[in-house]
């Protein structure tokens, strides 16, 4: 079955924005399990799970954690990228509004792995309702004493697409204009306040409690061998049932578009404007191919990266303005000075 609820599990039946409800389905047990482990063992577990980053680049999350120098003498930080701004993507808001505690639990587990005592969740400024839900969940978990020595701070952006790029995000979080930094040094070495910093996408971090629940070896068996687990796919545009769908990674794109999202309303079988929103943002034109939703391309096989898993279907070019409306003011201004990635 391609559809498998794990990141969103329980959210249909319960109001998982409430701490008691999340606990009723075993929530926050993963933190206890993680805290019973040494950070080294936890990082090994995360590496064995082979969780690839869900923000688009697909970097192994456990390996990222292993790159953090915990003996640097500076405090390590965990930063969660909730600056979801890429057109077509609306998966992070699904997690934030429906399972915020799973994200918070993931933060606490990931923070333990890198011995971070501070977590920043950088949420785009335009997500007001989302911020309020997340902040309420953070407040509730904090008051319940779940954080321990760790502190989670939700930091709001103020409208700058570029801040989804991780180093621009760090500059913004430091109270500067959000401009990308030259790399190296990379954030695990010199990130927030020049200290070792791990940055992950919302969905990556929210998947971490599932690894604790199943164990790394079981998690690694789900879906694609090269990139196990599930991911939320946002599908929009001219499609019968647009929305977010949580699928096992490795599900063919055809199943998502035609079986799950119902295909295009006028029943045409080819999709001329299919877009794969990989960080390279490849344009795939022509007949829809059996596209494997792998997170990393296998060189030479014609696969593409999963990107941030947000196909936007366009089978009716007549609906598109002949001349595009042109970039909105914020894309012309300083905020969009450089494309991310």
């Amino acid at each position: 079955m391609p559809v498998l609820e794990s990141l969103l599990a329980g959210a249909d039946e319960r109001d998982l924005t409430k701490l008691a409800e999340y606990r009723a389905i075993g929530g926050y047990k993963g933190v206890e399990k993680a805290r019973a482990m040494t950070p080294d063992d936890l990082i090994t577990e995360l590496q064995e799970a082979n969780l690839r980053g869900r923000g688009g680049a697909g970097f192994p999350m456990g390996r990222k954690a292993s790159l953090i120098d915990r003996k640097s003498g500076k405090p390590a930080y965990l930063v969660v990228n909730a600056d979801e701004s890429e057109p077509g993507a609306f998966k992070d808001r699904e997690v934030i509004t429906r399972v915020p505690h799973r994200l918070i639990e993931g933060c606490l587990i990931a923070a333990h792995a890198i011995e971070a005592e501070r977590v920043f969740i950088y949420i785009r400024g335009e997500y007001l309702t989302e911020y309020e839900i997340l902040q309420a969940a953070v407040d509730e978990a904090g008051k319940a004493g779940i954080f321990g020595a760790c502190d989670i701070l939700v930091h709001r952006g103020a409208g700058a697409y570029i801040c989804g790029e991780e180093t621009a995000l760090l500059d913004s979080l430091e109270g500067r204009r959000g401009q990308p930094r030259p790399r190296p040094p990379f954030p695990p070495v010199q990130g927030l306040y020049d200290a070792p910093t791990q940055i992950n996408n919302v969905c990556t971090i929210a998947t971490v409690p599932i690894i604790m629940e199943l164990g790394a070896s079981e998690f690694a068996k789900i879906g694609s061998e090269s990139s196990p687990g599930t991911a939320i796919f946002s599908i929009s545009g001219n499609i019968e049932r647009p929305g977010n769908y949580e699928l096992v990674l490795g599900t063919p794109m055809r199943e998502l578009v035609y079986d799950i999202a119902g295909g295009v309303p006028d029943g045409r079988s080819n999709v001329p404007g299919e877009r794969d929103r990989a960080s390279r943002c490849e344009e795939l034109t022509g007949t829809l191919r059996e596209q494997c939703l792998k997170q990393q391309p296998d060189a030479g096989r014609g696969d593409t990266g999963r990107g941030d898993s947000a196909p936007a279907e366009d089978t009716r070019p007549r609906n598109l303005p002949r001349k595009p409306m042109g970039p909105a003011p914020d894309m012309r201004g300083g905020a969009a000075g450089r494309p991310p990635g």
Binding site: P75, E84, S85, E86, P87, G88, A89, F90, D92, R93, R118, R124, G125, E126, Y127, L128, T129, L153, H155, R156, G157, A158, G159, A160, Y161, S172, L173, E174, G175, R176, R177, G178, Y193, S234, I235, S236, G237, N238, P242, G243, N244, A310, A312, D314, R316, N319, L320, P321, P324, M325, P327, A328, P329, D330, M331, G333, G334, A335
Partner: protein, 154 residues
């Protein structure tokens, strides 16, 4: 609570007070409606940065207003998914209903209409935000009602 106290309280939560710049600018804007030179000076004093630095940061971010804006903000997403299902017609409907072009504020200072980049509600397009609360899907037919609601609410 005075703005400066509010800012100090937030700044204390960060390892470096400069990180409170965005929250401070937001609090000032919420208080005064826009970031006037006086409001920026207050932020600068509270965080011990120069007003010029505060302006340089504020001018980078789309949600900060260095000029007065309307009491209400209507933002229409015109990015790909919304464009595919008629966002341009939604913009036009607002323009004709309000009698202004996108980017302008009504003469009575009541409503500012803006075209914005992706609000990431693509599955529910077309998406607009009224005072930063998302609404979707919004079609041209819905526009007169929304404008009326804003007029009635003031």
């Amino acid at each position: 609570m005075a703005l400066a106290d509010q800012i100090h309280q937030v700044a204390a939560r960060y390892p470096d007070r400069r990180s409170a710049m965005l929250p401070a600018l937001r609090m000032a804007q919420e208080r005064y409606g826009w970031l006037s030179p006086e409001a920026l000076a207050e932020v600068a004093d509270a965080l011990e940065y120069t007003p010029a630095y505060c302006v340089s940061v504020a001018s980078f971010y789309d949600m900060f207003h260095l000029e007065p804006v309307g009491e209400h903000e209507v933002e229409v997403c015109t990015n790909l998914s919304c464009a595919l299902v008629g966002a341009r017609e939604v913009v036009r409907a607002f323009e004709s209903e309000l009698g202004i072009s996108a980017g302008q504020t009504t003469d009575d200072g009541h409503v500012t209409l803006r075209v914005v980049e992706c609000l990431n509600g693509c599955g529910y397009a077309p998406v607009i935000a009224v005072d930063h609360r998302h609404r979707h899907p919004v079609n041209p037919d819905d526009v007169p009602g929304i404008v009326e609601e804003l007029r009635a609410g003031s």
